[in-house]
Amino acid sequence: MINVAVVSEEKSFFDLLITHYNRLPLYFHWFKDTDSFTEQLKLEQWHVLLMINRDFDRLHDWLVKLSENKVEIPIVCSTPIPTTDDRQLLWQLGVREIIPWPVHRQELEFILKSFHEFLAPPDEEGEYLFQGSLEFINGIDLLRMFGKKSCDGILHFQWAERKGRVEFKEGQIVHASYRQMDPLTSVLVLSSWNHGFAFFKPDQYVSRRSIMLANEQIFSECREYFKERESLLKLFPSVYTPLYPHPDLNYEDFGHSERQLLHQMRKGKCLEEIKNTYEGDFNFLLKKLTTWFEKHYILPEKQYQSIKAEKEKEDSAPAFRRLVQKIFNRKESSVEETFSSDFEPELQAEEESRKEYFFNQKELLEKINRRLEE
C-alpha cells in the first residue's frame, strides 16, 4: 500500500480521490496545507506528496516552504494547465511530476496506478522467490504454496500475451487481476491455466483486500470451477474433435465476439484449440458452446460434412428454382429436420395460422376475363 499525502485547501479534491479511486492500492490522507503536513510528517511513512491547488502562486509558496523544511518525499503537483515557465519552476523546486487540469478520470487513474512503479525500486534479475512452468503444477497447489504467514507479494502468471496476478498479504490471497474480470474469477481462471509460467515477487505494495474469502474457501471455489469444466467437457464427444458451425447458421443472430468465434470455427476447431486461443473465462465460453452444441448450431465433423454435402447439392440447383422451392415446396417435400426448428421459425407457419382467403366471386373474374379478351 502506498501512502499518499494529499495537500489541498479544498477538501473536495481529496473526497473525489477517495470516492473514485478507493480500489487502488493507495491510502490517501488529507492535509489542509503544508504546515499541517510537516507537523505530522514523522508520524507516518509517506511515499508520495500530492499537492493540489488552483492558485499557482500559492502552490509555489508551499513548495518553497517544503524545500526549506528539507522534505525528501517525491512530490506530484496538480494545477490548472501550467505554462512552460511554470513547469520549469516546479521542476526546479523538486517536483517529480505535474498533473495539469483538466484531467480525465481514467487518465488520472492511470497516473495514480503508475505511482506504484514510479516509486518501486527497479527490477533486478534473480529477485523472484519462485519461478516455474505451469505445465507441471496444479493451480491450487501453486496458490497453496504461498499461503504461509511470511508470504507478502505478487504471484505473476504469464501465458504468451496473457498476464495476470494474484496478490498475497501474509499468506492470504487479497486481490487478483486478469483482464477486466472480478478478483475471484481472476483467481479461478489463472489457477486453471496449464500453459505458460508463474513467478512470485515479494513486494510490500499489495492492493487493498478485494477478496474476502479465506484461502481454503478460495481453493474450494477453484475445485468447483474445475469440476464444472470437467462436467461441461463431458457433453462433447472429445476435446480433440473438430467442431464446425451449422452451414445454415444465420450469423446476424449472434453478437460480435460470438460471430468471430464461429467464423474461426468454419475450418473446424476442437475444444482444446479454442481453449488455447480464448483469453477469457473458458468455463463461461464452454457453457455457451454447450448450448450451441445442444441446439446444433455447432456440429461435429461427420454431421457437418453430411449436411454440407446435402446443402451443396441443393445449392447446385438453379437460383430461381431454389428460391421458389425453398418457399413453396417446404411442406410438400419430406425434407429431413436436420437441425432445430429454432432456426427459421417464420417458415413454420401452418396452413391454419395463415389469413383466410375470402374472395369467392369466380364468376366475376371469368366475366372480367371475357371482357378483357374482347
Partner: protein, 169 residues
Amino acid sequence: MNKTILETAIILKEWSLILNEWQELRISETLFPPHLRYVELNVKDDITVMVYLLDSLMKSDFNLADKIIPYIPFSYLYFAELDVNVERLMKNYVNRYQTPLLFLAPEDDKLKEKIDANANLSSKLSDVIFFKRNDIPEVAWKSIIAKGIQRIIPEAVESNAGNQNNNVA
C-alpha cells in the same frame, strides 16, 4: 353504365419502384387507412382496376396488408431482379396469406436468363407474368390482369378459347 372494379395488390420492396416501370402512373394515397397508396387504371370502359401498392411486408408489418390481401382475388409480387428481398417478400406473404400470389416482372433478357432455369419449377409457379416496359399502364395492365385471372382460373382460358371457336363457327 355499370362499372366493375377489380381490386388487386402489388407486393414490392418499395412502392416508388413501380415508377421505374411506368413514370406516368398517378399514385394516390388514402386518408384512411393512412399511407395506403393505390393506382386506378381504366383498362376498359366498364372495368377499372384498383392496384394497391404494398411495401410494408418488407418490414414484416402486416397492418395494411391484412385489410386488403384476404379479400382480393390475387396479388402480384413485383421484382426487377432476383435477390434476397424477393425471397423475404415471398416468405412473409406465403407464411401469412392464403390468397394466390403471382409473379410480375418486366421483360428483360438478363432477368429471363436467370429465370430460364424455371422450366421444371413447382406447379405452383408455372411461370412469371412478364410485361413490356414501353406499354402505357392501361395497356400493360389489361394484359397483366387477363394473365393473372387465367393463372388462377385455368378453365377461364378454355372457356375463352371455346367462345372464340364458337364465334368463328
